[in-house]
Amino acid sequence: MSNEALFTYTLRLADDLLILSHRLGEWCGHGPVLEEDIALTNRALDHIGEARNLLTYAGEVEGKGRTEDDLAFLRNERQFLNTKLVEQPNGDYAHTIVRSFLFDAYHLPLAEALLKSSDAQLAAIAGKAVKEAQYHLRHSNDWLIRFGDGTEESHQRAQIALDNLWTFTGDLFTQDEVHQAMVKAGVAPDLTKIKATFDATVDKVLSEATLKRPVDGFMASGGRQGKHGEQLGFILAEMQYLQRAYPGATW
């Protein structure tokens, strides 16, 4: 196993959480009800906390002295390795909840599997993440059920969000050479197993929500290789602005 593969894999894990946290942070002060403002900010905080642990570790694995901030603020669009799902705009609250639900249904079994990773640091980080991920999934699945089985409008909005975002779940489960090397080394789980748990969660929640599971059509990919949608550039332009405008400054 090369350090380069472990570095890439750790960045993939970190970038999902960093970008999703950024998106959720955009809601702060604009939520549909004060309690949800607090809940979304909580999630944003959990995600950024896990991202920081992973980025710090990625910097150590790389061994070039890069810090969490160097990796977050000084990489460009093609160097970010998050899945396309998490960079999708917030849209209405149904889109935000569905985006989180799809991510949570993947993130929880992933974190559980990483508890058994041969990489002690990734296993330790997952140890903290599992508890948070359970709460996240409960939050998003409760809201999805409320929407699906709430009013006609909420049902419709949830179904539209699901149909729009479904394609991006493809990106969550692609396994390239880097991933296969990680599986072989016992660092990462085989994603077909994670996908089975994901499918079971999705089917159970959608059935309770009276929503239809979209048919797999064209499924998005490329995020893990740094081939993103146009949205990511704007996220980074905003997120990295001060570090780029004042190189080397301490904040």
Binding site: G29, L34, D37, Y241
Partner: protein
Amino acid sequence: MSDTTKREALFQAKVDSEQKIEPKDWMPEKYRKNLIRQISQHAHSEVVGMLPEGNWISRAPSLKRKAILLAKVQDEAGHGLYLYSAAETLGTSREQTIDDLLSGKAKYSSIFNYPTLTWADIGAVGWLVDGAAIMNQVMLCRTSYGPYARAMVRICKEESFHQRQGYEIMAVLAKGSPEQKEMAQDALNRWWWPSLMMFGPTDANSPHSAESMKWKIKRQSNDELRQTFIDRTVQQAEVIGLTIPDPDLKWNEATQHYDWGAIDWAEFNSVVAGNGPCNKERLAARNKAHNDGAWVREAAMAYAAKKAERKAA
């Protein structure tokens, strides 16, 4: 003595002997109204105050700063929640209170009608705006109305953390590059006078003050609190090498306080009247969040009703 006069005398005796007034106790209608006005204004200020600070979450300059700012703005939402609940104990509903904000009928602290233009503004807001708010809030931990006093105890703990993190942002900038120091000084220049205005009109011109003092809702006057704030903050600015933008500011040996220049009350009145730099944006943002969220709240209610129905069946 009429019944009402007797009750009022008993009420005042209770307040004078430092017993807390609780929701089910008898209270003069004007005391109730005064408190509803004050607590809901306070709640609205917490919630509207999330906007200028939330404005920098996506651009915070490090992951640590971003996490701290998220946590801070989340605290403000929590304060809004406790305070709306405290107002509800006086017989108003959260819905009505929020409607009054959205229609422009209720006020919130005018300070949040100023924009956060640079990252240093996040430091200045924590240091000065939260710092000024704490002066009021520490006093309110001993206010005569029990639920308000108890909410304030927790709020004060969190606000004092907010104030320190704001000051720390300013200290780091002031020690940084010349550009960063300039950014910090510029933020202090813009936020200083509006922060002093946060204590409200001078005692001579404060319409609600006399009654609030008699009922121990307030325990110190606007001018006293303002002076304490100035005395403390001038020294904090000196420590980090920033200059308070007031040419008349100087230590007075005789009073053991700082003398300071004149507040531009015309500006204060104009912002309160709705003509600040961001009044319209702030209310528009709150209205948009409320309107966009209507279907979400309806869905939650509809689902809860269905669930209850199924349980009963």
